[in-house]
Amino acid sequence: MFTGFGKNAKNVLRHLYKTGKYNIIEFANSKTKNAEDLKTLPWQAFGTLPEQGKLQALASDQTKIRMASYGVMEIDELIKEAKPDFYIGTEDIWALSPLVDKKWWNDNCMIWTTLDSLPIFPDAIKIIPKVKHYYAWSSFVEKEIKRLGHPEGSIRTLRGATETSCFFRLKDEERKLLRKEFGLSDEFIVGFVFRNQLRKSVPNLMQGFKLFKDKNPKLKAKLLLHTHWSEGWDIQRLIKDNGLENSDVLTTYFCKKCKQYEIKSFCGQKIACRFCDGKDTVETTNIHNGVSEDQLNEVYNLMDVYCHPFTSGGQEIPVTEAKLTELITLVTNYSCGEDFCTEESGGMPLSWKPYFEPGTNFIKATTLPESIADKLERVASTPLSKRNEMGKKARQFVLDNLSAEVIGKQIEKIIDNAPKIEWNHSCSFEPRNPNHQPIESANDTDWVVDLYKNILKMNVDSEDSGVKGWVNQIKNGGSRESVLNYFRQTAIKENQENTRVELSDLLDKDDKGRRILFAIPQSAGDVFLCTSLLPSIKKTYPNYNIYFATKPEFFEILDCNPHIHKRIVFSPFMENLLTMEGHAGGEGYFDIAFLPHIGTQKVFDYQHNGKDIIQFDTKA
């Protein structure tokens, strides 16, 4: 059984499926439980997201929605039903680490995750004793764990699987034609394929490229940034600030209408397409409208060298794709980059300096522009034959170490060697604590993290999008009080059956000893039917006040009902008869609590195939 991490999961699952040895059940992130597109997979697959109704209840909390998309709400149920012999969780560590405390977690459960910065995330280390099969995507983690004194094998290296068939070096003739198509000829093209996020060191690359260009004015160097220009770094400004010309930097434009792409300098967004009649259909490539794998292969084949400076990362897929197209790859020598910048991998290391990331204090790398310029110069001055030789080495490195077949075989070995195991399926609910008092002197971030941890019992950190969302809300004028109130209400709702709510405010002060509760939470039909019992109740208990509890949407059925003293909103805690009527030291709220729905809506106890006969006359 598998969870998460898109491309990797797909590649490995296809490999495992083809072996014919396994019955696979995929738990696919961010899909609804019975999503239609999952039904076309050759193996069984379920989405991690619960049905719409449950999701709507989370609408105002991004953290909970994100956790739900990672399967937190459904995983226990799926495990219970699937009874897997082997479980593989491949996704962010913060989404996996809480699973090791589940009652079903056992020695046939595997974590295969990305850890990208030093110091290693504390929760990732804390769970080591509980995880028998613990793998990280880069050797950097294994080395660090060893350095910290953990036994060998605590966390091993198992790289993410790459589909190798889509990316390859085109023939020289084809490459020339491709360049011609975009008005290019003998330029020296430095490429970078990336999602425009802050962890991609675009300013450093710009500086390094400028240094390189200044030193090599005759080289006709161009920088090809295959990314979206309307998110993340302001690339136009970086071009200007670094004294580059707009024409020095190329990018990929894509038409969402005709699906054609074009390489040229940036000239705005939502522009006309030269291939079709689209008037505003062309934008820089992005996650919504982007090139196909075949087209991306062509983009790589326009490059002379691939340069990937970044602050840290789990496994940079473009680096492996570039290697498959036989490009020399210049990669920051930190985090997963350590595996991809070695000579045997057909790469070159980019030097860096550390800095501490604000908030998390993780060590991140800032790649030195001088090193970028130096390595670009080294590649440019390398004879073509030698460059080609290094490129072939780069491709072979990926085929030998990251191909779906190689990684798939390693997974096979792990699964096949696992012992037969009995699952324990019980899953428990940790009661929420709506009464927790946060420390008011804490800064906003710590204060919100505290609410998650101690009220909702959720393990989050300052980087969590939900935390950031609440902090922003406070910074934009929202009060801490309203945030705290939201968390408390959510906790109460989630506790429902375990939490007693004070009723006394809803009750009259002068009818103690004369109160009847009639509770029927739903539905409209049942509420209406039950109004026929009220005359008899009133006749039997003439001096008592009837408090009728139901959902507010059914209150109108009770309008002007002469037998009802008060309508009150139904809560599940009212189902505790002893609490309602009192027991031991508790005085209770009502003298008589009628809970007729217990034997109908709560627990079926009346159907009897429609054949039972009542020996009493129930009609008045």
């Binding site: 029927i520 008899s536 009346y606 008045a620």
Partner: protein
């Protein structure tokens, strides 16, 4: 035990008259049927109400159907006045108080009708009628239609059912119950549904890409173009100038042609085998065309699903004569209607079999053609045995 008996026993009290405070709502009709569907889950959503209405209106055209409930309740073709979401519960009480009859599923309305001594025809499909039937009023005024539990198994007691039991109730039975309660003479006892396909209620237009004229009725509609029936891809150009196309083919269609008409192609279904080239499929996808792949559900499906992994492969299900119960008893009185039509050479056909036999559609109902092509499409048909002496007039009656 009735649910209200259970409530009464739980409280140790007797059942009296219920209470609700009706609020005036302006309904100016003399004779009307209050009709309620359900929006909670699918188990109370009956797909053939329009067929029942069709029969009712044959015999009782002066009765109007007033649909009540909440906006999310199931929509039904053929109602006269739709008040869903426009009334409060108290308004509803008033509307029901003045109606001729209640028709619908187990709901608040059935109990309101019962409390007002109204005639009732109610469907019970996910629970026993005995557990939640109308409590008040004269039992003779109530017709409670249950699923045949012996035949289809016991009720699910669930709001959601994979194979809805409610659809096992035949529409002519419902119509007859309403007419009988209203004391309107009818001979619907001579009509019997034999089969209703699961896709019957989905209107579909299919076009054979032959060289005949194209009826105006397909203008701006989505049509299935059956290249798998007749591979004449040149016709696509003409069809695309009139309609939106959902192309169904078992051979690759020229990419240049697809590129020309892609703005009018709402989807393409390819019935694939191992000979289909992945690069061709990628090219179709790159044109921005929504592509669906399907292959027969046999031993080779898994291998094909792996080959076409990146596109997703669906299992093709083909119905046969055996899929329709009692189909061995087919005779001249078996007729069918379909919401699916096939257009070829300027004529309209009610089934693939009619098209192959060149029997153009002349009426709402056509005679069953006992051949594999007919049964293959049976999921789109309502097949019935009509022994009424004047059934031809029924054919011309109201139908959506």
């Amino acid at each position: 035990m009735h649910i209200l008996d259970r409530y009464a026993l739980s409280c140790g009290v007797k059942i009296d008259q219920p209470f609700i405070n009706p609020h005036y709502y302006p309904v100016t009709l003399d004779k009307y049927v209050v009709f309620q569907t359900s929006g909670k889950g699918n188990s109370r959503q009956y797909d053939y109400w329009h067929k029942a209405f069709s029969f009712i209106k044959e015999y009782a055209p002066d009765y109007k159907i007033v649909h009540v409930g909440i906006p999310s309740d199931q929509s039904v073709y053929g109602v006269d006045i739709d008040l869903r979401g426009k009334t409060s519960i108290n308004h509803l009480a008033y509307i029901i108080k003045n109606c001729s009859i209640y028709l619908g599923v187990d709901s608040l309305s059935v109990h309101l009708a019962s409390a007002n001594n109204k005639k009732i025809v109610a469907l019970y499909s996910y629970c026993y009628a005995q557990n939640c039937s109308p409590v008040w009023g004269d039992r003779k005024d109530h017709t409670l239609i249950e699923v045949d539990w012996e035949k289809y198994g016991k009720p699910s007691f669930s709001l959601q059912e994979d194979d809805k039991k409610i659809n096992k109730i035949n529409p002519e039975l419902i119509a007859k119950a309403v007419l009988d309660q209203l004391q309107i003479p009818n001979d619907l006892d001579k009509v019997q549904t034999v089969h209703i396909g699961k896709s019957f209620h989905n209107p579909t237009i299919e076009v054979i890409p032959d060289d005949g004229p194209i009826p105006v009725l397909i203008k701006e509609k989505v049509c299935n173009v059956r290249l798998d029936y007749l591979f004449n891809e040149k016709k696509l150009l003409q069809l695309a100038s009139i309609s939106f196309l959902n192309i169904i083919s078992n051979k690759p269609v020229d990419l240049g042609l697809l590129n020309t008409i892609k703005a009018k192609v709402s989807g393409m279904t390819l019935i694939v085998d191992a000979s289909f080239d992945i690069n061709y499929l990628k090219a179709v996808k790159n044109l921005g065309i929504k592509l669906t792949l399907t292959a027969p559900n046999n031993d080779g499906w898994g291998k094909l699903a792996e080959k076409f992994f990146d596109f997703g492969l669906e299992k093709e299900q083909v119905a046969t004569k055996d899929s329709v119960k009692d189909s061995d008893k087919v005779n001249q009185q078996w007729i069918f209607s379909s919401e699916k039509i096939i257009i070829s050479n300027g004529k309209i056909f009610s089934s693939k079999a009619s098209w192959k036999n060149n029997q153009a559609k002349l009426d709402k109902y056509s005679k069953v053609i006992d051949c594999p092509d007919f049964w293959e499409e049976s999921e789109h048909f309502h097949i019935l045995k009509d022994e009424r002496p004047n059934w031809n007039s029924a054919k011309n009656s109201f139908s959506p």
